[in-house]
């Protein structure tokens, strides 16, 4: 079995688990929605909300991502399945890529919902010429977040206190994604006079980040879960 084929099997398994348990729909999406509402209460002025909406979308994405990552590895450790995968000699690169792909799918859905929430709650609008940049930004940022989240989720899974360790490890690592994705979405939405062309360099940064962490994560994941 090739690495990519096993990665597809792992991704399908993770998405099936979420489909069966409904944790994403019943807990993560409501949590993300409540976060957006809380932001709206805290910044109770339309002009401020519209100015900071892109950043709030990505902050809410990252908070929710922590829940998703912890969940993704809780299902692996509850009955020793991650150990069993390792014992069975399943290619750790395939485990990493499969879990990252499943996390990426969920993150993408989450980001679309959060953007919709920003439109509804904050009065944000999406200009016609910003759609391509917006979709490219979401895609590249999602890949980066999924790569980092899966890598550190696997690392933290073997430790006690993993719930507090994960954000400590993850947030500094995803800071470039937060900055780059926020600037690129600001350009796509035309926030504070930004134009679409301002966003593409940030997309380049996001793509480099995703490739670097994707390749590094695939190589490092095996030794990490073997420890």
């Amino acid at each position: 079995m090739s690495t990519m084929r096993i990665a597809r099997v792992v991704a399908a398994k993770d998405l099936r688990i979420e489909w069966n348990s409904r944790v994403f729909v019943n807990q993560v999406l409501p949590f993300a929605g409540v976060t957006m509402v809380i932001f709206a209460f805290a910044l109770d002025a339309d002009s401020v909300l519209q100015r900071v909406a892109p950043g709030l979308v990505w902050l809410a994405t990252m908070f929710s991502m922590l829940v998703l990552v912890q969940r993704a590895f809780a299902v692996e450790t509850a009955d020793g399945a991650l150990d069993a995968l390792r014992v069975a000699g399943v290619d750790p690169r395939a485990i990493y890529l499969g879990k990252a792909a499943a996390l990426g799918v969920q993150l993408l859905v989450l980001e679309v919902v959060l953007l919709a929430a920003a439109v509804v709650l904050y009065g944000q609008t999406i200009p016609a010429d910003g759609w391509v940049l917006l979709v490219t930004t979401l895609t590249s940022a999602t890949c980066g977040l999924a790569a980092v989240g899966t890598l550190y989720g696997g690392l933290a899974a073997g430790f006690t206190g993993r719930e507090t360790l994960l954000p400590l490890l993850t947030f500094p690592a995803v800071a470039p994604v937060l900055i780059g994705a926020t600037r690129a979405v600001e350009a796509a939405l035309g926030t504070a006079g930004a134009v679409v062309s301002d966003g593409w360099p940030w997309v380049g940064l996001l793509a480099v980040f995703a490739v670097a962490f994707g390749v590094g994560g695939a190589l490092a994941f095996g030794p990490l879960i073997d420890e």
Binding site: M1, I6, V9, K13, R16, I17, N20, S21, V75, A78, D79, G80, A81, D83, A84, L85, V87, A88, G89, V90
Partner: protein, 230 residues
Amino acid sequence: MSVVDLDDAVAVLGRFPALAGATLRVEEGEIVLLRGPNGAGKTTLLRLCAGLLPLVRGTGTVLGLDLATHRESIRRTVGFLGHQNGLYLDLTVAENVRFWGSTVGASDAEMHAAMSRLDVAGRVADVAVSKLSAGQKRRAALACLIARRAQLWLLDEPHAGLDASARDELDDTLRQAAASGATMLVASHELDRAGSLATRTVDVVAGRVLEVPGAPGSGNQAGTGAEEGR
């Protein structure tokens, strides 16, 4: 060809030699009970045979693959079942078996046969693992081992955490598997139960393997057995 063939095998945990020159041979179809006190090296012996620990000294093969050079390949051909079952609690039994079978490219027929053999192919197949009894979970875990074509079963305290009826179920399951030719190494403190299943019993003492004359099953496989540890 022996399924397991260890000669003067040494394996270390940290710097401690948990196996200190173990010699053991297991033939196809045997069920070998490993008995011994805690810390004697039973689990280390199973983990060495599973390719999870490096062979520091001596020689060893599992299913014809060299423990010194082919540990990854060995992992793919053996099934190790410890205190946990390695199942996904939010998936059904069928989904778990399908997942583990898919990691080795098993066909639908193979996966269904694995579930049938462990008696989890009926209504139980569509029940989430989290809702199963401990004995049913153990059977589901063994079905996953079969689905992923494990040729050697390494069972570490398989009765742990099971009530009396679940232990009976497990014993029946292992007897059926043995009858159809499965080869097993079983580490257990449940000597009455595991001993009645075993075709041979060996003691693991201070990291070495000793033949047990007269122990349950010890006379059934004369000439194939464990060699004395040193």
